[in-house]
């Protein structure tokens, strides 16, 4: 507990100091890394903690992005209000998906959410009169300045605030219920847990943060295309980030996202081959260390010793 707080404090300090060291291009990379960190932690909360393996996170981020962008462009909504509307739109859609997929488990849920993501992408591409499809939608920027520093601190603030909320939820009784449902849905139900309510709750919270990340991203990056936003390989990269970090840890998701995003910029000379490397890393890590790369290292330090044996240890 105490160690966690100290660790988080150090991480935030480093985060705050980044613009002092990184300029323009690398600061841009840092902003994108934080954007992915928010998406990855929202996925981790849903998949890792509550056991709902959804592939719709990028699509929900895209819904947030397009909602916010289109509201500013077409209705001249104030930027901050549009950002909130973007996050809320993703939340509502997440609520609907959450309700629809209640009875689905494992592969069915994965199937449904992959299909949903493609549906959103196809629709956004097809409605090019509104979204300009693959030509790209030009989105007003959040700030008038060309400096990246304000964007960086905004994204850092969003990330830290979101993580705090998610962390609080996961530490509370709700987090306990999420995990109980993940482990054994029926057992949770007969222990008095309202399974339906908490499955939907996990979906809704996770969608909100995905939408929030997306709407911020839209007004930072300035151009949106459905494909770059939510193509399936993009979701794959997001999952690689979360899995590398450790599927059951918010900090792991953040670390994984930052690591992968910086690596992919650093390895730019490899062109597409770096994504081959990430894909390979994803499957190898899953195969040989199902709990990820970063989190198990942390756990090793906090490992608990097995207690002496008692009568109940005796096997039949």
């Amino acid at each position: 507990m105490k160690k966690n707080v100290i660790g988080a404090g150090i991480a935030i300090l480093i985060g705050v100091a980044v613009p002092l060291v990184f300029r323009s291009y690398w600061l841009h990379v840092a902003i994108i890394a934080l954007y992915y960190a928010l998406l990855a932690s929202s996925w981790t909360m849903l998949a890792g903690f509550s056991g709902q393996f959804s592939f719709a996170t990028m699509a929900l981020g895209g819904i947030g992005a397009y909602t916010s962008a289109l509201l500013v462009i077409n209705v001249q909504l104030p930027m901050w209000l549009a950002l909130i509307c973007g996050a809320l739109a993703a939340t509502v859609v997440g609520l609907l998906i959450g309700v629809l997929v209640l009875r689905m488990r494992g592969p069915y849920l994965a199937l449904f959410t992959i299909a949903f993501s493609e549906l959103v992408r196809i629709t956004l591409n097809a409605e090019y009169q509104l979204t300009r499809g693959d030509m790209g939608l030009t989105v007003p920027h959040l700030y008038t300045t060309v400096s990246k520093t304000p964007y960086y601190y905004t994204m850092l603030g969003l990330l830290v605030g979101s993580l705090l909320v998610m962390w609080t939820v996961l530490r509370s009784r709700y987090g306990l219920f999420f995990r109980a449902i993940r482990e054994q849905e029926e057992a949770a139900a007969v222990m008095g847990v309202n399974v339906v309510r908490y499955k939907i709750m996990a979906f809704v919270i996770s969608s909100f943060f995905a939408g929030l990340a997306g709407s911020f991203f839209a007004h930072y990056i300035g151009t949106l295309t459905p494909n770059s936003m939510m193509e399936i390989p993009r979701m794959g990269l997001l999952i690689a980030m979360s899995v590398i970090g450790g599927i059951e840890s918010l900090a792991g998701a953040v670390a994984g996202a930052v690591l992968v995003e910086f690596l992919q910029e650093y390895l730019r000379a490899l062109e597409m081959w770096r994504f081959v490397i990430f894909g390979l890393a994803l499957v190898l890590i899953l195969r040989f260390s199902q709990n990820g790369l970063i989190y198990p290292i942390y756990q090793r330090f906090a490992a608990r010793r097995v207690e002496p044996r008692t009568v109940a240890d005796a096997e039949a």
């Binding site: 494992g106 097809a126 390989p233």
Partner: protein, 299 residues
């Protein structure tokens, strides 16, 4: 009317290609009890392998289809050996989660690999048979005819193997009861490998057949992948008969459905959305499919 019949015929041909992919997915599901989220990518690999066989080595494109099936079969065997076998030896925890993530991850890996190796641009494979054939008022591209016959031949051959041979019997035995099959001396690991290899080879074959009709690209597998999920959910997970019926149904729905879309450019885009929407509806209304009873669960 003519246009309607032409579209119906088109739907049939596309349905046959879907059938190859979906039967493969269904076969894998019934034996290994998992959904292969890399299935569409295996289809894509088949398309590229056959493309390069015929363009680089000048092999007859029809022979290249079969060679690419062999290559994708071997690829499938390797995938199953290195990544899926641990599911059946007790080496991984949380099997459902692992099966989803590992096959999805492999799919992403293949997409990126294809992007790197073959480039992001679309390519057109060599014709099987150029020209067109006229049947009454209908004019059909010869490629499509060849594709239909080959697809039908492959499906028939597969049905023959499954229903009439010892290997087929072993496949069915493992799909019904893994433990009981082991007791009568069937090596279920080998059957897994075979089922997975054959399953993805069917997808690869479909990809190779698609080549001369449509364009091929690293992302070409995503939609057929999703559609084959639609089909096996529609037809009932693990039912081969259901997969065939579902495929033909989806092919027709897509082809005929797009007639009625007002705006043709949008129509083309939304054609692909039909299947996805259908999946959503079926999953909601009857998650066990039209013909199936079983639910997917590994643990």
């Amino acid at each position: 009317m003519d246009f309607f019949v032409a579209q119906a015929l088109n739907g049939l041909i596309i349905g046959l290609l879907y059938a190859l992919i979906a039967i493969g997915l269904s076969l894998i599901f019934s034996v290994l009890k998992l959904v292969n989220f890399a299935h569409g990518e295996c289809c894509m690999m088949g398309a590229f392998v056959s493309y390069y066989f015929s363009t680089l080595f000048g092999i007859n494109p029809l022979i290249a289809v079969f060679l690419s099936m062999v290559v994708v079969f071997l690829l499938g065997v390797a995938m199953q050996y290195f990544f899926l076998r641990p599911l059946y030896t007790g080496a991984v925890e949380r099997k459902d989660e692992y099966a989803i993530l590992i096959t999805f991850g492999l799919g992403i890996f293949f997409q990126n690999l294809a992007m790197s190796l073959f480039g992001p641009w679309t390519k057109k494979s060599q014709d099987f048979l150029s020209g067109v054939t006229s049947i009454g008022f209908l004019t059909v591209d010869n490629n499509r005819l060849v594709v239909s016959f080959v697809a039908i031949a492959i499906v028939l051959a597969l049905l023959l193997i499954i229903n009439k041979t010892f290997v087929g019997k072993a496949l069915r035995a493992v799909s019904q009861d893994r433990d009981a099959a082991a007791i009568v001396g069937i090596n279920s690991h080998r059957i897994n490998m075979l089922a997975f290899g054959v399953g993805v080879a069917l997808a690869g074959g479909a990809g190779a057949l698609i080549g001369p009709i449509f364009l091929i690209s690293p992302m070409m597998g995503i939609l057929p992948g999703i559609k084959s999920f639609v089909i096996i959910v529609l037809g009932g997970m693990g039912s081969i008969k259901g997969a065939i019926i579902g495929s033909l149904l989806l092919g027709e729905i897509e082809s005929l459905g797009s007639i009625y879309l007002l705006d043709p450019t949008r129509g083309l885009a939304y054609k692909n959305a039909f299947g996805v929407l259908l999946l959503a509806i079926v999953l909601l209304v009857k998650p066990t499919g039209l013909f199936g009873e079983r639910h997917v669960r590994m643990e």
